[in-house]
């Protein structure tokens, strides 16, 4: 089974990379991009029967720093 974890900086936490991407899009002539937030996607190949709770535990312990990042999990 597979799980995909999305890790994003929390709202309110400065995302200088997102801001730089937004600026570059503007420089390329893409008007109207008001905000860009950049995160990461982590794909996990897991043993059958791994529970969402276990993946959540992985997020809390390592994959996300919950002081600054939020995460979401897609199982499938």
């Amino acid at each position: 089974m597979k799980a995909r974890v999305h890790v994003m900086l929390k709202n309110g936490v400065l995302d200088p990379q997102g801001a730089a991407v937004r600026h570059a899009l503007g420089a390329l002539g893409f008007d109207g991009v008001e905000r860009v937030r950049q995160g990461k996607v982590i794909d996990l190949d897991l043993a059958e029967g791994t529970t969402e709770a276990q993946v959540r535990d992985m997020c809390e312990k390592l994959l996300a720093n919950t002081v600054i990042e939020s995460y979401s999990i897609e199982l499938g």
Partner: protein, 222 residues
């Protein structure tokens, strides 16, 4: 007086930190990240700067899960002293021994230069060689030194006099200009600037020496 300096794959200030401890009178052991215990009788643990595990995932995140970091957490839990500099500060926040987190510099650039650092409190074994309000010159060299904590945490740090150093001219966007903080028991210090790189005249500055000298005095056997 014994100091241990942790060596992770990617540490690059480990030897500098060992030299600074040694100059202050400590017996220094270098401790490999896969070790599960600190040497007997260690008074202070140093977590050096560098790029542990290549900064994969997040700076300090993988190092914080290493076997030796469990021993460092136990040592701090027993009231032991620990100082994390640069990547070491990132490791200390990732282990939860210090609050907050380090983000990418607000200007997105790696910054390597000497900055003015205001000593916010002299009430710790690390800072009692300075006077509160004194501005010292210490080098920084980091890409992810933008200290972040929520308002409540920053207010608590301020209220408990746990901000050790702040930037005179904030180079990286850190909240409240914070450059270094202390644990609640004031025995764990994390800071982004490098006092060990300003502890010999040949470095171009000696403003970091007072930290190691004060540590040597404070931790000397009675």
């Amino acid at each position: 007086m014994k100091a241990a300096v942790i060596v992770f794959p990617g540490s690059n200030c480990d030897r500098d930190l060992a030299v600074a401890f040694r100059e202050a009178g400590f017996d220094v052991s270098m401790v490999w990240h896969k070790d599960t215990a600190l040497p007997q009788g260690v008074d202070i643990v140093g977590i050096p700067g560098g790029f542990s595990y290549g900064d994969y995932l997040r700076c300090g995140a993988i190092a914080a899960q290493s076997p030796i970091c469990r021993a460092v957490a136990d040592h701090a839990g027993r009231g032991g002293y620990a100082v994390g500099i640069c990547n070491g500060f990132q490791v200390l926040t990732e282990t939860g021994l210090l609050p907050g987190a380090l983000l990418r510099n607000a200007g997105l650039k790696y910054i390597c230069r000497t900055v003015g650092l205001r000593v916010e409190t002299a009430a710790s074994v690390y800072t009692e060689g300075y006077t509160a309000g004194q501005v010292i010159d210490i080098p920084i060299a980091h890409h992810d030194g933008n200290y972040f904590a929520d308002d409540e945490t920053v207010a608590a740090l301020r209220g408990e006099d746990r901000i050790a150093f702040s930037y005179a001219d904030n180079p990286n966007g850190s909240v409240g200009d914070i450059a270094g903080i202390l644990s609640a028991n004031r025995r764990v210090l994390g800071m982004m600037p490098h006092p060990e790189r300003a502890s010999d005249a040949r470095h171009g500055g000696t403003d970091g020496t007072a930290m190691f000298r004060a540590l040597g005095t404070a931790l000397a056997p009675a």
